[in-house]
Amino acid sequence: MDRVFGIDLGTTNSLIAYLDGETPRAIPDPGTGSPLLPSIASFQPDGEVLVGDAARQRAAEAPLETIASVKRFMGLGAADVRDEDRRRYPIASSRGPVVRFAIHGREVSPPEISALFLTHLRRRAEEALGEEVKRVVITVPAYFNDSQRQATRDAGRLAGLEVLRLVNEPTAAALAYGLDKRKEGLVAVYDLGGGTFDISILRIRDGIFEVLSTNGDTRLGGDDMDRALAALLDLGDDPDPRVVRAALIAAERAKIELSTHDSARLRVEVPEIGFQRERAVTREELEQAIGGVVERTLEPCRRALKDSGLTAREIDEVVLVGGATRVPMVRRKVEEFFGRVPHTELDPDQVVALGAGVQAGVLSGRRKDVLLLDVVPLSLGIETVGGVMERIIDRNTTIPTAARQLFTTFMDDQTAVDFSVYQGERELVKDNRKLAHFTLRGLEALPAGVPRLEVTFLVDANGILNVTARDLRTGREQSIDVKPSYGLTDEEVEAMLEASFDFAEEDVSARLLIEARNEGDGILRATRRALPKAEPAERAAIEAAIARLEEAMRATDHNRIRDLVEELNQASMPLAQRIMDESIKEALEHRSVDEVV
């Protein structure tokens, strides 16, 4: 059974993990020994892309060619970008359903950049384990909407991966934590990452991880803390992007240092333009600067509790996830809110990836004792008279879930019916997010009100909406035209796959096939040479093994070739022993065969 891998595609760092027996393991980078891959991509003028630490090093000198925290832009349209981001990122001026960055005369979308991290992680795993990585589970913030989830799936596709499931980050963390501690009960997961915040309330019982409610803010995280701290340095009205980037890097460093010290230095230096600024910052100043950010995390916590029907006191355990939860103020506020000390034993940077690794094991069938029951984070509805949102699926409904609506025509001979789907909690559709416009076409011309079209809205286990329709009068499936409001079209994804970035590395399976065939060649030649000395009893078996291996060599399954090489090895072992005993050494090893030839 093909192994499935779990990937945490984070705002700040990305990781890949798998289930090794019972234990999830995050695969480290062979150079640094750390499983963290900084989610940063730097585009060089020659067309090559750096990712990870190398990209981070280039960030200060080439800030407009280096994209960090691209996750914050996933699923967004050009119009969604905030002003402060327009100054810091090279946003392409084209308006459209997908925001793009303009770099070196080329427009790059967020899913393409995320795909670079996925590809890098994929290769890391393939090299570490010697097997092909095809099927994955990717984590997303629980509060990610439909467009953001689609964008994540697009990234997987662009990286040549089959995304079996999107898993919500707090749920993955709960999984890693719950299995590690064998805990049962009501658990709150407070996940404050680089760019997103999630709070999920779960019930863990008998290996079932049931999400009761989830809430969050997909534009709130450690990055906002860095920004608030950097603002303490007066950088002027329109600072050079290099100054801005250097200031953010300095702020991040200071923030981290202030977790263990009472004071730190904020030092910004850009020698190329002779800019230098420095100041001391105390923990107290940090807390004053970031207080607003931390406060903003508490409202979603209140809402999640309310939706779950529980009070803070009723929660048995609180788990902290995400690098930003290392900040002492965050821990203090969370402890105050829930009235208990939160758990921090598991590495907040790795716990989501480890949980993804476990879920990957569940999906590949390797683990059967665990089940995640997650929920849709935001309500779904359609537009009705007066621009009012009519809810079809409530937030926090367990997924997969489906709802049906009956549609009909309002005019005689009307041949099409359409409706729009929105996601959000507000009363009016204009305050919610429009997902797509649907049209049922080619309807039979009938009097008004006679057609009966049943539309099924299914939110699948990924939290993504699927819409199908049936004509109840004929019982037949009705086709639907979908016009999504956001996201890449299939044609765009195809085009991107064609023009993918130059990583300058060959396809792994091609390489594995070449190696397997070389091995096969070697053993076949050696065995054929030795065959005349075979005894009648073993000859038939050896010839059969040879035939099977030859057939496999003509195909492309490198695993099968390897298996049959081993089989032939076994079948010809006694023969080989005898030949060696006759002192023709290493007759069946590749090298000696070449020499003998």
């Binding site: 499931r165 997969p400 286990a461 019982g475």
Partner: protein, 234 residues
């Protein structure tokens, strides 16, 4: 010979719907899992919530038993459990789990279950917003107090808020009584044979409770908006 509808459940000659397992071929009454080989069978769109759970139709249900059944079925039906199985299993698991989710939401909540029960018996709660007769006096009183609260200012607010809180308690007490009546009604379905009378009573209780629920929600909202809020619920 029966014809196969789009949902793939052939109609047997006797008229009761029959499902055929895509894996082992066994014909059986519709159920989420094959009784012979345990493969996931896609439930038809009109399977009722009790069929999804494999439970007999009863209005009284033990919440713990229902929850346990839900977890057991989830384990066997959920798409994650069939992540590596054949396409038929994966599709059927998606359909069935969505049906299970909906069935659980409905059956778990006594009010939702009761409304569903009415539907199963061909009845429906009307959409009308008329005040149920017996509540008229109480409702009038509450509206008056709410109006007083809205118009009050300064120290008078606290006093008016206290009065509204008293009304809220009265409303909740009334709802509590109706809840008890509803419980009794539930139990009687198992033993009694006067379905039409029970149905009428259930309908009446539900429509009054629906009215009260809306009113209680409005009163709570009004109190939250006013300073001197009610104590947070324990």
């Amino acid at each position: 010979m029966g014809d196969t509808s789009t949902t793939g459940t052939p109609q047997a000659r006797a008229g009761a719907p029959v499902a055929r397992c895509w894996s082992c071929g066994e014909e059986q009454p519709p159920a989420p899992l094959c009784r012979k080989c345990e493969s996931v069978l896609p439930l038809s769109a009109d399977a009722d919530h009790y069929q999804v759970f494999g439970l007999p139709r009863r209005l009284s249900l033990q919440p713990d038993e229902l929850a346990q059944r839900y977890y057991d079925l989830s384990r066997r039906l959920h798409p994650d459990t069939h992540g590596s199985g054949p396409a038929e299993a994966r599709e059927a698991s998606m359909t069935n789990t969505a049906a299970l989710t909906r069935a659980y939401r409905t059956l778990r909540d006594p009010l939702a279950r009761a409304r569903y029960w009415l539907e199963l018996h061909g009845e429906k709660l009307g959409d009308d917003n008329r005040v149920p007769g017996e509540l008229a006096a109480l409702v009038f009183e509450v509206q008056e107090k709410l109006e007083d609260l809205r118009r009050a200012s300064g120290p008078a607010r606290a006093a008016r808020a206290a009065e509204v809180r008293a009304e809220l308690e009265a409303l909740e007490a009334r709802d509590g009584e109706l809840h008890e009546r509803m419980d009794t009604n539930f139990r009687q379905w198992d033993t009694a044979h006067e379905a039409p009378a029970l149905l009428r009573e259930l309908r009446s209780i539900l429509s009054r409770r629906a009215y009260l629920a809306t009113l209680i929600r409005d009163v709570r909202a009004a109190l939250e908006a006013a300073p001197g809020r009610a104590e947070p619920r324990p």
